[in-house]
Assembly symmetry: C2
Homo-oligomer: 299 residues x 2
């Protein structure tokens, strides 16, 4: 940053004549519960979902500003924990929190705005998907939904519960998908079907998914068996993991595999469907997974 | 804007390698009451206070993103009114709302982030005030505080009550002060004494004010007489009018007068004090106005 917190506004460097901006709210009782998540968790989650929005445009996140509305009786240390969580998640991408605002309120609300830099590249919007493209996903799907289901069932000590508290976002994957030639991209915040629906509408295309192609990691299957639910409903409908879903030509998808293999940590990658002409929307060509088609908040 | 609402993020043009960013919350019960202000008023106020922050850096506002947390039982049309208010206040400066987020919550919170463009100029921070500078104010002081006092006294039909609902910000004045040679600048959101205190601390200087030099428009005096209070406490301590307070050399202040005279609408302008060496802080060289030294929210 050029000018940081403590003035009327901050000044952030950008490398070309454009800045990318996105904003999100986290509301207690809607997006987090203080008995399920620590302040540190909430800080990391708030940062993660905004950083993912910037990356889903094919841009590099550069700075965050944060507004916090908090009850007067908020326990001591909660704001410190939130701040630490925001800072640590941002540090993974060398991003700084450059400004903020604090207000009293009867409910806890964390309002985060993230800025990003395209570094001369073309933005990857939702509107570029073309018939003939394949649909790929990089990152985890269904883990946050599984975590929420486990927490709701009183299994707060289950390892997957953490996936609701703090998403494990494959940040590095987004720019690789863009570089490979993504024609459209979103981060999965509302659920795979819902977010691909945004691409379908914006691009005026039909997206065909195969539920047999949805990734089903063993830990999701195990947790689903324990709870007696279909894990594919988490994978198809669960949000808040912030995987990156993109459309691209099939040769670009092969290039994406190569680029993702170069990353330090392995990233789950799957081809889950294809783009066709037809009424804009998302359909399954085989059995549609049970459950809601989009992510439902828990309040 | 280059890419507007409806994607993961928006893309906004900037003219040099920097972007200015500021964020603010408006919380029901803290910053507005729905029985005192319309949704349209709240929208205009939310935009105004963020646009003023950008201008106080000597930058041109370019875009807004807005997060809204709202109760499920919010009356129909409130969100439309808010949106109209945001849009109309932004339109005064040809600024667009480029993105947003909406969430349920038990309380109404409007979270606005504004972006701005320095157009090659140096940012005017709070840290540049120098001994020998004079302190000037462009815009209204004490009007929002008078409006709040009148509303609290049940005088919601008084013309000045509108000054609490929607500030009348002298947007055009800020860039003229910067151009004239402001060494430091703030918009008065917390109160003149409190906000000049921010300059004093950041610049490591002492600011001497003369209460006899505080502007006392007749409508403030009249309202104060009716309520039995000292109008100078509104002028010295009242926030939310978003006047621009700046320090500059005395020859620059003369230049500022000339530049402000060229504006289409006349802007109140006053020289209210001077910058000296000494312990950082703000003092009155004559009688200190009664009342709080900084703006108090009403909850």
């Amino acid at each position: 940053m050029l000018i940081g917190p403590g003035d009327d506004a901050a000044v952030v460097r950008v490398s070309d004549g454009r800045v990318v901006v996105s904003t999100d709210l986290l509301v207690e009782g809607q997006h987090f519960r203080r008995d399920w998540s620590t302040a540190y968790d909430v800080g990391r989650k708030a940062a993660a979902q905004n950083l993912a929005d910037i990356l889903a445009m094919g841009a590099v996140p550069t700075a965050l500003v944060v507004g916090l509305a908090a009850p007067a009786d908020l326990e001591v240390g909660w704001v410190d924990g939130l701040t630490d969580g925001l800072r640590d998640e941002c540090a993974r991408l060398r991003v700084s929190v450059v400004g903020g605002d604090l207000s009293a309120a009867d409910v806890l609300v964390v309002a985060v705005t993230a800025l990003g830099d395209l570094r001369g590249r073309t933005a990857v919007t939702r509107a570029g998907a073309k018939p003939g493209d394949v649909v790929v996903v990089a990152g985890r799907l269904g883990f946050a939904a599984a975590g929420l289901a486990l927490l709701s069932a009183g299994r707060s000590d289950h390892p997957l519960a953490d996936a609701h508290r703090v998403p494990d976002v494959a940040y590095d994957a987004a720019l690789r998908l863009a570089e490979a030639g993504a024609t459209a991209m979103v981060d999965v915040s509302d659920g795979l079907v819902a977010d691909l629906g945004h691409i379908a509408i914006a691009s005026g295309v039909r997206i065909e998914l195969a539920s047999d192609d949805l990734p089903l990691p063993p830990e999701l299957v195990e947790a689903a068996l324990a709870l007696g639910v279909d894990p594919r409903s988490w994978v198809a409908g669960g949000g808040e993991d912030h995987a990156f879903a993109a459309t691209m030509r099939s040769d670009a998808a092969l290039r994406a595999v190569t680029l993702l293999a170069d990353l330090d940590a392995p990233v789950p990658f799957a081809q889950v469907g294809r783009v066709v002409t037809g009424d804009p929307g998302v359909v399954f060509v085989d059995e549609t997974p049970a459950g809601p088609s989009g992510h439902q908040h828990f309040a």
